[in-house]
Amino acid sequence: MKKLLVYLKEYRMQCVLAPAFKMLEACFELIVPLVIASLIDKGIGGENMPHIIKCVAILGILALVGLTVSITAQFFAAKAAIGFATRLRSELFRHLLGLSFSEIDTVGTSTMITRMTSDVNQAQNGVNMFLRLFLRSPFVVFGAMIMAFTIDSHIALIFVATIAVLFAVVGFIMSRNIPALLRAQESLDKVTRSVREGLNGVRVIRAFRLEADSVKSFNGVTDELTGRLKKAGHISALMNPLTYVLINLGIILVIYSGGLRVESGILTQGQVIALYNYMSQILVELVKLANLVVTLNKAMASANRISAVFDINTSMREGDGVDFDTDPDDDVLETESDAGSEAVSFRDVSFAYPGSSEDSLENISFVVNKGQTVGIIGGTGSGKSTIASLIARFYDVTGGGVYLFGHDIKDYSYDQLHSLVGTVMQKAVLFSGTIESNIRMAAGDVSEDVINDAVKKAQADEIVKGKGGIKACVEQGGRNFSGGQKQRISIARTLAMRTPIVILDDSSSALDYATDLSLRRALKELPEDTTVFIISQRTSSIQHADKIIVLEDGHMEGIGTHEELLKSCDLYKEIHESQLHRS
């Protein structure tokens, strides 16, 4: 929570001025009962018409000044709250974008999106209301009490007692109510989950005729929610009647003892009315304060959730950059291109995903030379994609080391890594914009020829044509493209980067066999030095690779060419045969 206050720093002035002006407004409000008292005692009691008019004029001026002052306060509060939220959002976005894959996995994208949107809005609301009310309400409450002391210190004690009891009662109710509301919120989340479950599983539910069952279990969930809401309601139902009774008891006491003191000539009638008015003001402000506490409580919860995200630091440290000690104009790789030299090597690599006790990869070692094509194959969960992720340094190894062109991958700067490794991910994702903007996402300002070449190699030219050109619009999530089309565009996006290492992570799964074949042929036409990794479940996609790595349960079961593996690796043979039963 405290950490977020940094983002208010720029608005320090507003943060002071807003409550200050609010307090000023409260001061003016506190003067009103005194004016009324004077109007009654001097004006009416003294039958002094000019004084009455003077008092009313003062009331008018107080109202006008109050208006100006409070609008000013609202402005400062709004300015600070919006400024705070804007900076917070921007910083949070930057922070989230800086997280590495491990942290993205642990936090989860839906959580991150909620933090960015509704939580920041709650926090903004909290700051705004805090600046507007948090000083004002207590100020009015205690101000009224102090004013009571200036009128009559004896009666003011009734104020002290009433306020103390009120605070105790309100505090007690809130302290019981807030956890009750939280429990109700949990139940509501359960309702949400149940609805979603019922919708997503509708076919299965119907196929197994579980309709009645699922209705019954949903009713159970709503029962729980209703029960908890009622419980919370029982507590908060006490709030209004109790505060009402307490304040009015206070007024009764004030008028009674006020009456006694008027009799003995210590107080005037007008002053008793003023005290009565002060008591009423307390009630109004106290209710506002209670509501404010609820708002602030929500805002605090949001703020805590946000700062928890800020507390997550990326576990990956960027390398200082590898110095290729050549003249800087030269392409990084040309300089190192003694043909056949080492491109990627894994040295005794082990890896476990964050939060998982089991290793996803164990003691993997292999060397891939420049210009080679490598196939990686294995069953579900065997660690194929994990290897791809490690080559791109999406994760850091937990044991051993990954080396690119002879340098530890951790020594490269992120920019260098981006210029070395291009990955086509398993799940093809397009962003809203145009086909071109999608392809240029990583490549930047490359020439049109490069783009066209990438499109062609990715077998995407017919898509581009079909959609009406490279400037064709891509809707959010690429929903106007089919799965296969998305895959081909995302392959083009990676190829346009012209990196010396290209990884295709099962990225032709949605392509039919014929297109897949043309794609593989096109990949052969990449610059000679390009090292290509193809991850696939089909042996047909990789059997012509220079090297095939066979994985099972994170272990390397074999490495070699198709022919070698057929002889030496039972697992590979089994996979191959399972896919090839030509009769």
């Binding site: 609008i71 919708l199 209705v215 139902a237 009674y256």
Partner: protein
Amino acid sequence: MKAKNNVQTEYGGNTGRELVKYLKKHGFLVVLSVALALFSSLTALFVPVLFGKAIDSILSDMGSVVNCLIRVGCVIGVTALMQWVMAMVNNKVTYEVTQDIRNDAFEKIQKLPLNYLDSHSTGEIVSRMVADVDTLADGLLMGFTQAFTGIVTIVGTIYYMWTLSRMTTIVVVCVTPLSLFVANFIAKHTHDMFITQSVTRGEQTALIDEMIGNEKVVRSFGYEDEALERFNEINDRLAVCSLKALFYSSTVNPATRFVNSTVYALVALVGAIRVLGGHITVGSLSALLAYATQYTKPFNEISGVVTELQNAFACASRVFALIGESEEEGSQIYDIKASDGSSDDEDGIKGEVDIEAVDFAYVKDKPLIEDFSLNVGSGQTVAIVGPTGSGKTTLINLLMRFYDTDDGKISVDGKDIMSLTRQEHRKRFGMVLQDTWIKQGTVLDNIRIGRPDATREECINAAKEAHAHSFIKRLPQGYDTVLAEDGGDLSVGQKQLLCITRVMLALPPMLILDEATSSIDTRTEIRIQKAFHKMMNGRTSFIVAHRLSTIMDADIIVVMRDGHIVEQGSHEALLKKGGFYSELFEAQFAH
């Protein structure tokens, strides 16, 4: 904008009636609540008069002061009691009504045609059932308490003021609408600012959704800087329009308060003059001043309540639109545990499926399946292959009666499937889909979906046959491991294995497998295939598969394209024919 308004009013009429239907169940409590609101407002309004009298008596006689105060105490006690009962009643009514609405909506979902569910996003329906009903509940609570008590308070105050001083009353009644006018004026002028704000916010959310939702891709391309730049551009625009919207809307409070203060000052002036003229007492003036503050409060609140109520009604109309959707005919649902005693008719099923000249379209003028006919003999295995969009899954939808044919008929053992209820019909099929569905609960619960009365042993045996046993065993609590929504940590392949286990347990007379093993690696797949083969023995089966290797043994391979059968026959026959199927098949092995 206009169209939207029309829709709202169109629902509006029904919405009120629907709401009343739900409230009727609590008829007595609703009447009680209204009565309590009426009386508690009136008694509360009586308090200032009594205080006024007490203040007047201060100057004369302390005895009658005490008298008055005792009466005040009683009135306050009664008022507070009524307020408390009213709050409890309102809670009960509101929460129970919203629960009824939610339950009805959920039951409705179970009865709606899939057509409706497929064409509405999950998020949309969830937000109707959760967020909209919540807003409705808030609105109901607010409406119940504030709108009604507000009106009673206004009317009551005018009455009491009238008895105290007509002149003051007239002044107050004439001036107060000013605050409504001011609030309205500001609301009208901030409306556009709020629209701009929500549009910009929507734009930003879309960007967040894209960039954070696909953060791994963003990171892998080093696109962070551009993303941040785009974000900040929107963020800065949002800051400007939010500030405007927030500030201008927050002037409502000070402005109405200003009007109130003016009213207060006027009451003081007129009241004081009346006191001087001997028409009213000082105590009455104090009561009038108290009324002046009390009277304007509901006016300020009412503008809030009106928006809240409008909002609640808009939300209610969305929920009621869902509840009011027309159901599938014959969609009464029965509890199968209760009614599923006899399974003798299952044994009698041979499983001959005849599809005759079936036409079907999801959208009326875009026919998908046309004049489709297929005869499947008892115990045969039918494989359906073809490119995406060729109608494979649609065929499954029709077989399971998730959708009904537009024309033509499907019959099982010579009996039109339309002559049975959907539940009776579906009982004869076991189905595994590509999209796995895991419900919250233990692994065992999930397997038992296949047959609710199965014993633990039977479930474990089924799991063994489906090759799911080995991974289930390794879960922390084995078969009693609680799975989170949508399977949580299980891989897609593991989820598919669980779904297959269900069918292995159910052992229905006919089988439908729609890409059931698409995420399972080929070696495990082959083992499952063996189990499937054993199960399919003597059972009519329909298989949709992407990997042609898995369907070569089928009795009939149906090759579909654009809703028609283009080829049909055994694997060998089709290969020999050298048509579309052999093209698809050869491509697998080309390099």
